[in-house]
């Protein structure tokens, strides 16, 4: 947005953001602590955020740690993604009633509540933009996604503390949000002062900000934030060199290394569940016991299952090797043909939540190193 404005909101005034959003009828979702992980759920106050917690992430490893600082956003992304809210894991979209030989088919879509997301990371903004391309911009958009996306209020949070498996800097998706938000925060704790540098990204965002005590940002304050983000970009846990990656993987389609990866891969599908861009769903039909009603559901699905590519006679991708290759090549190659963008935003979730720590950046680097 051309007329973006940068202001300072002090930590003590931060609760106002929640209050204003609630007052305007938004259901607020954001990061919160549950079962030793930071997940996304409905929240209503600052205290619901993982105050004072930070995370340590590595391949197949996720640990939380309490710190002395009272940061609100020191944990980067956890196992949840916003698709949980925007494209729920299970969703009934058609209802059918039977009366004798007559059928009556009706839409089961209900208007969802207006939603505000607090703590959307820059990589996740890019994931949302990709989801838009897949679910919204095609000839047959997904109704439920459209409805949820429409009235969305997005409070982004820039990443001053990148995680161990993060690689957004090399994907050009972070650590600073550049578009797709209403407000973007950079959290700064400097000596005894705790404040947020807030950038507006939309008219609505600017309008809402009027109701939250703030002051114009000074040069020193914005510089502190910029420096913190520059430093963050320089200490990403990982990197992925995307130059020519589309053709690189095509050239290695028959590389025996895929087989080496799948000696470790258990095809559990964790990477697809935690991925913010994975969109594959299954469609299931169920019937009531008396046979008078039927429903059609959409459920998240994973290309790692044998059934995913099943047609009469067998599965197209019967081997584990072909399924891992499908997933990785979809993210980095096919996606570019299909939607004109990469299908990976560098959030690192697939690395952290892989039970055996398979690392997409490491595998991509292998193919690059062994490319003739």
């Amino acid at each position: 947005m051309k007329n973006s404005m940068v202001v300072i909101v002090e930590r003590k005034d931060f609760q106002n953001l929640f209050d204003v959003l609630s007052k305007r009828g938004y259901q607020i979702s954001g990061p919160t602590l549950r079962d030793n992980a930071v997940i996304y759920d409905n929240i209503s106050a600052v205290e619901d955020l993982p105050v004072g917690w930070t995370d340590h992430q590595e391949g197949g490893r996720y640990r939380l740690e309490q710190t002395n600082k009272k940061s609100l956003f020191a944990c980067v992304v956890g196992p949840h993604t916003w698709k949980k809210i925007l494209y729920p894991a299970e969703h009934t979209f058609i209802q059918v009633k039977r009366n004798g030989s007559k059928l009556e088919i009706t839409s089961a879509e209900k208007k969802p509540p207006k939603s505000a997301l607090i703590g959307v990371r820059p990589c996740e903004l890019h994931a949302l933009a990709i989801y838009d391309k897949v679910l919204k911009d095609g000839p047959y958009p997904a109704t439920s996604y459209l409805q949820r996306r429409q009235d969305l209020f997005i409070v982004a949070v820039n990443c001053v503390n990148p995680g161990g498996t993060c690689f957004c800097a090399s994907m050009n998706t972070g650590p600073k949000a550049t578009s797709g938000f209403d407000l973007a925060l950079t959290e700064i704790i400097n000596n005894d002062r705790h404040y947020f540098v807030v950038e507006t990204g939309s008219k609505l965002g600017a309008d809402l900000l009027k109701e939250i005590p703030n002051k114009e940002a000074g040069i020193e304050e914005t510089q502190t934030a910029d420096k913190a983000l520059q430093k963050a970009a320089a200490r990403m846990g990982r990197t992925l060199d995307i130059k020519g990656i589309h053709d690189l993987l095509y050239r290695h389609f028959d590389d025996p290394h895929w087989g080496e990866i799948t000696k470790r891969c258990m095809t559990c599908g964790n990477c697809t569940m935690v991925c913010p861009t994975c969109f594959c769903v299954n469609v299931e039909d169920t019937t009531s016991l008396d046979g008078r009603q039927a429903e059609r559901l959409r459920k998240w699905d994973s290309c790692f299952t044998v059934g995913f590519s099943y047609i009469h006679g067998g599965s197209i991708r019967a081997t584990e090797t072909s399924r891992y290759r499908q997933w990785m090549m979809h993210k980095l190659s096919y996606w570019q043909n299909q939607f004109g963008t990469l299908g990976c935003v560098g959030c690192g979730r697939c690395i952290t939540w892989c039970p055996v720590g398979i690392d997409i950046t490491e595998e991509a680097a292998y193919f690059r190193k062994n490319d003739k």
């Binding site: 979209f93 058609i94 059918v96 039977r98 030989s101 007559k102 059928l103 088919i105 897949v134 679910l135 095609g138 000839p139 047959y140 997904a142 109704t143 095509y250 389609f253 969109f279 594959c280 769903v281 299954n282 469609v283 299931e284 039909d285 169920t286 019937t287 046979g291 039927a294 059609r296 699905d301 290309c303 995913f308 590519s309 099943y310 047609i311 009469h312 006679g313 197209i316 991708r317 019967a318 081997t319 090797t321 072909s322 290759r325 499908q326 979809h330 190659s333 096919y334 570019q336 043909n337 299909q338």
Partner: protein, 271 residues
């Protein structure tokens, strides 16, 4: 994803394991337009939905014909349906055979087994606009004579002077007196101009692969060979991801592709 309700007007047993359903809309407009090669998602109440290609005449809009083999839960339930029963229909979806582009050219149609079903609309279309095309050749192969689909149509087509129809079976049984051998053996001597033709091929992938080789041997360009692919489809509209074939979605860019566009993908195993 709107589902329209259709009634079954007629059921037809084609072979021991394949059948056709003729449908008519229950409400609204009493017509249905599609392009040859496209498919519909057919819904059997409480059982599920499957993609089935349209096998009827595209120039007749009053009814809709699908031909399918009984291979899974939904098609099994579909076969049990009777005249007057209700079926849900979404579509038509996907790309189509190049019947317009083929105007002025010879047309070679090569079908294997149930692959004739999505090609029958092409034959209907061409026969009702026959003067616009050059030589038209239909080459059809099945495993056994019992697997031959659309016998009545084939008998009629074989009797025409403006359509060259050749049949072959992999294995002769009973009183079969025709060709024996795979369908690709018919391509070498089929009368068409390889430099001015469009080839439309549908059948098992292995059959399409060798058909393409034979067509290439005759000198047909890759851009003039069209093949129809099959993959798992759950939504038919490019959202569910199941039908991905490398860089494409079979429900969107397919099912009909030019061989030129699919070449890099077609020969890769488990892509």
């Amino acid at each position: 994803m709107l589902i329209d309700l259709f009634s079954i007007r007629r059921t037809m047993k084609e072979t021991f394991d394949t059948f056709s359903l003729e449908l008519e809309p229950q409400y609204g407009e009493k017509s249905f337009t599609f392009a040859p090669g496209q498919f519909n998602m057919l819904y059997v109440y409480g059982v599920g939905e499957v993609p089935i290609s349209i096998s009827g005449d595209p120039t007749r809009h009053k009814s809709l014909i699908h031909t399918t083999r009984e291979v899974g839960t939904v098609t099994r339930a579909m076969r049990k349906l009777k005249v007057g029963d209700t079926l849900g229909v979404r579509g038509p979806y996907g790309s189509s055979w190049p019947v317009e582009k083929a105007v002025g050219c010879d047309v070679v149609i090569v079908a294997g087994g149930i692959g004739l079903a999505p090609l029958r609309p092409v034959i209907y279309y061409i026969l009702s606009h026959r003067e616009k095309y050059g030589k038209v050749v239909l080459l059809y192969g099945t495993r056994t004579p019992e697997d031959i689909l659309f016998r009545k149509d084939l008998e009629k087509w074989r009797g025409r002077f403006d359509l060259e129809t050749h049949l072959t079976v992999d294995r002769a049984t009973g009183s079969w007196h025709g060709n024996v051998g795979v369908v690709t053996t018919l391509i070498g001597r089929a009368p068409f101009d390889p430099l001015n033709c469009m080839a439309m091929v549908c059948g098992p992938e292995i059959m399409m692969r060798f058909t393409v080789l034979e067509l290439q041997k005759r000198g047909v360009e890759d851009g003039k060979i069209f093949i129809s692919m099959e993959r798992n489809m759950k939504c038919g509209i490019g959202l569910c991801g199941h039908c991905q074939l490398g860089p494409t979605f079979v429900c969107k860019e397919g099912p009909v592709y030019t061989y030129k566009n699919l070449k890099d993908v077609f020969l890769k195993r488990e892509m």
